[in-house]
């Protein structure tokens, strides 16, 4: 995936990504996307082209458990979030709803706003096409790997007819 980098700082919390009063009034992902990054830049959704990448500092997505935060980002057209580090629930939610989240410590300083970047989800790398440098994300383990590979929990369930932690269904012959 190739796109433009949108760069944010440290400690971007879920209330900045989407304030409660907007996320608590609709279930529609397209409607949620209109408020993506509302706490930082109200014009943000208009600036995104499909496949763009958010690059951020430490503890991206801290605070509330709201799944609407990664949903708003995904439906705004962002293809992946790459950050120095993620808050626990956000990271889990992102993979569950099929928004790739790559943790690369120090990445925020390696990318400038507007840089063209390429994210390789198979290798889990980000390449800054301006500086020609490639950075490796930490590997995923266990169920997180399964979720990312499937494109989220619903996609996994659709394909396998079960959740990753459930034993395989016995085949009836």
């Amino acid at each position: 995936m190739n796109g433009k980098a949108h760069v944010f700082g440290d400690y971007v919390n879920t209330d900045l990504i989407i304030p409660f009063r907007f996320k608590a009034r609709t279930n529609d992902p397209v409607e949620l996307a209109k408020y993506c990054m509302y706490g930082i830049d109200r014009e943000f959704p208009k600036k995104v082209s499909k496949g763009d990448v958010i690059v951020a500092g430490v503890n991206f997505g801290g605070g509330s458990s709201r799944e609407q935060a990664p949903v708003a980002i995904k439906y705004a057209g962002i293809g992946a979030v790459v950050a120095d580090s993620f808050a626990r629930i956000f990271f889990r939610n992102a993979l569950v709803i099929g928004l790739p989240a790559l943790e690369i410590p120090g990445i925020q300083k390696q990318v400038k706003a507007g840089d063209a970047v390429a994210v390789d989800l198979r290798k889990r790398t980000l390449t800054n096409l301006r500086t020609k440098k490639t950075f490796q994300a930490a590997p995923l383990t266990g169920f997180l790997r399964d979720l990312e590979a499937a494109g989220g929990l619903a996609a996994y369930h659709k394909r396998h007819g079960k959740f990753p932690w459930e034993p395989g269904k016995r085949k009836t012959t």
Partner: protein, 419 residues
Amino acid sequence: MEARRILTDPSLSFAEKALSIKSGREVRAGDVAVVDVDLTLAQDSTGPLAIRSFQEMGLKKIFDPRKVFIFLDHTYPAADEKVATLHTMVRDFCARHACNVVEGTISHQHLLEEQVVPGMLLVGADSHTNQAGALGAFATGLGSTEIASVWASGKTWLRVPETLRITLEGTLAKGVFARDIIMHLIGQLGEDGANYTSLEWTGTRLSIDSRACICNNSVECGAKNSVFAPDQLTVQYLRARGRKPMLDIQSGAQATIKEKTIDLADLEPQVTLPEHVDRVKPLSAAEGTPIHEGFLGSSTNCRLEDLQVAAHILKGRKVKAGTRLVITPASKRIFLQAVRDGLVDTFMQAGAVFTNSTCGACVGTHMGVLGENEVAISCSPRNYTGRMGSLSAQVYLASPATVAASAVEGRIADPRKYL
């Protein structure tokens, strides 16, 4: 695997014991455990999305409807038509699946009062689910779709967290409360300082109300769960409500953990400056800052002991002209007790607004939303930009006593002179 052997193993932490027993195999920090879930919660801002996911995944049946609770508490009663539509969606779903819908009382406090027992594993689509650790449960937050998957499967997966044990020493000085302890810790660790970590609290015995405040607020430094292992006080609390422990899990003496000590006698009232939850300072750093609103509410505080200290400060005094004080009890039960004990009388005489139990002002959805450039002091958990309303509003965090004292003066004030 024998539960008894796990419970008595001195090398296992609380989290390792809890997740070993719930997964049926011995697990250690760093392992991934597939666990049986004893209780789930969702609320009116996460439940509708969970219901949508449940339906989109084609799930039909809830594993055990008695273990599924959805609360209408965040924007309750519905503040507008859009919220009302989502409330209706939740009521219809719960009726169809015979699971529990609870209206007009904050989830975490209601579950503490009526459902949580030591040794329970609770997951909730709400980050403050950690609060149930106050009664010795392993409790953590997840997102909506994962909660939907637990509704269907009765299980989820959890990475077994490392442990940080906090030992409390000595006694709190006058005017210093549980909220000051946890704010102090958040300031020291930073907002991601306990990310993925299990916090175990030990030492000086605190009330159940105080434990609830600390466990609830622990997520503000990233904690995965936060727990006070059950003791005599836990047993008394349960007995008074006709409940018994599921498991008495105590952390092993030789468990591999990090440790930290807090000397309570040294602690002063704390204040958190706007925008980030870890900008914690001694209260003097913000004393005298003019305020428009005091908010005494949310699941983090506003239990009975909080209302009692606030009433003590407000008795015979008035909220300063030009300042409003919004008081929102943490549950219906606390509301009723506050009425019976005459606390509400005191609040009304002082000129405060006393609301129904809701998350309202804390999340800026109704009942105390801040306008442009307004300043508030609040005992709710978060002071993020825009959290309580306008992006230009500023929120300071402090204990209920500090909020009450500040409302009297119309500026951030030290509660010690009123106690």
